[in-house]
């Protein structure tokens, strides 16, 4: 399959080719790769793409998946509208 046509991070529209290129440029840890390409920074918060990217990174760098994978856990776990944090006005 053409890496240009494989979308790995759907929220931020990052292709497999973008990831291969970034790894070649030296972004070989998940934290840097994530911020360089914005992988996992969209509404899914990395739930779908980060494990896949970690696996690609593992195969490219020869490191173990467990060494690379860092599960993100910043709240909220799912996107939530700001209105739910509005306190009711008195009266």
């Amino acid at each position: 399959m053409d890496p240009k046509k494989v979308i790995v991070c759907r929220c931020e529209d990052v292709t497999l080719e973008d990831i291969y290129k970034a790894i070649e440029e030296g972004y070989t840890d998940l934290e840097s790769l994530k911020r360089y390409l914005r992988i996992g920074m969209g509404p899914c918060q990395g739930a779908h793409c980060i494990p896949i990217v970690a696996r690609i990174l593992a195969s490219k760098t020869g490191k173990k998946f467990d060494e690379i994978y860092i599960p993100g856990n910043r709240p909220p776990l799912n996107p939530i509208p700001l209105k739910y944090f509005l306190k009711k006005q008195q009266g």
Binding site: D29, S32, R35, G42, P81, L82, K83, F85, K87
Partner: protein, 379 residues
Amino acid sequence: MVGKADIVIIGAGIIGVSTAYNLVEKGIRNIVIIEKNYPGSGGSFRCATGIRASFTSEEHVLLMKESVKLWKELSEKHGFFYLRGGYVWLLSTEEQLELFKKFVEFHNSLGVPTRIISVEEIEKLVPTINTSGLVGGVYDPLAGKADCFKSLLLLLKYVRDKGVQVYTGTLARKIVVENSRVQGVETDKGFIEAKKIVVAAGYGSRDLLKTAGVDAPLNNLPKHALVTEKFNERFKPLLVDWSSTSYMVQTSSGTFLIGAEIEEEYNVKPVNRIEFLYKAAQVWVKYFPWLAEINVLRYWTGYYVMTPDHHPILGPIDDIDGLYVATGFSGHGFMMAPIVGKLMAEWIIEEKPSIPIAENLKLKRFREGKMIKEIAVFG
């Protein structure tokens, strides 16, 4: 790991990276950067990304004016996002307006073109804002914002390509000093001999400097921020609500980044607190009713590394040969990084900064009782 380097920089945040960048530009190559976590993992990647010269001390204004110029040059040379979209302070009382007239006068006297603006002008600069309750604002057209990720990562790649060694996941434990001269750094992966050491490790600098017998008055203040999902550009300026000391900015990726002040204590571990989300929503939904329907994606904590006078500690430590420090930015490290990197490289190579007033920011000011004076603390 290498056993020897000309210069060891501790901390791969934007300050350490910018210092390495400026040293590389002066032809120095034998540099090692040590980072305990990953590049940018401290304040740099958690910041609000705002950049301005509109401060209220001469030291801040003169350094930041130069930094604003350098941000433009760096972004053009290395191809990362930087936009002079301005800052707008939203003012809701006549008293605030009177206070800001003094700030504007001070800025203008130092060549920073801020000005008081009317509610109508705010509406022009910030489409869709609900200005009820506002009496006016202040606009700084020279201020702006940059991509905190790409700027650091691209500068880091540049110095790496020039031969700078970067060791991530490596903890600096002790600065070894003999006969008032640095000998090297002990890390958890071994010793690196060095003639010069730059400590740019944020709050971690406090404990590190202690190992060299140096006391730096640093305190870590937890801060809170969130981002929403992304949208096309809605407005360019970074907004500061003066009454609540909260800010909101649309980042380069289109997300809205919101920070709001909640009560915090020094030197406690930052934790997520629901009050922050209540405060952020309360302040900003009032200005932008549409924000109520917008999703929050992430909420994270960070910290301001504070000094007693809210100004950084920069330059050589006078009583130890070869020891340099750049920390304590009190919330302004990202924006100051380009000029700080330049000044640090000048101190290291030429022993003199090109902006003489930077000498006022050396650590010895606390010992000598020469704290920096501000006309007021301004956001």
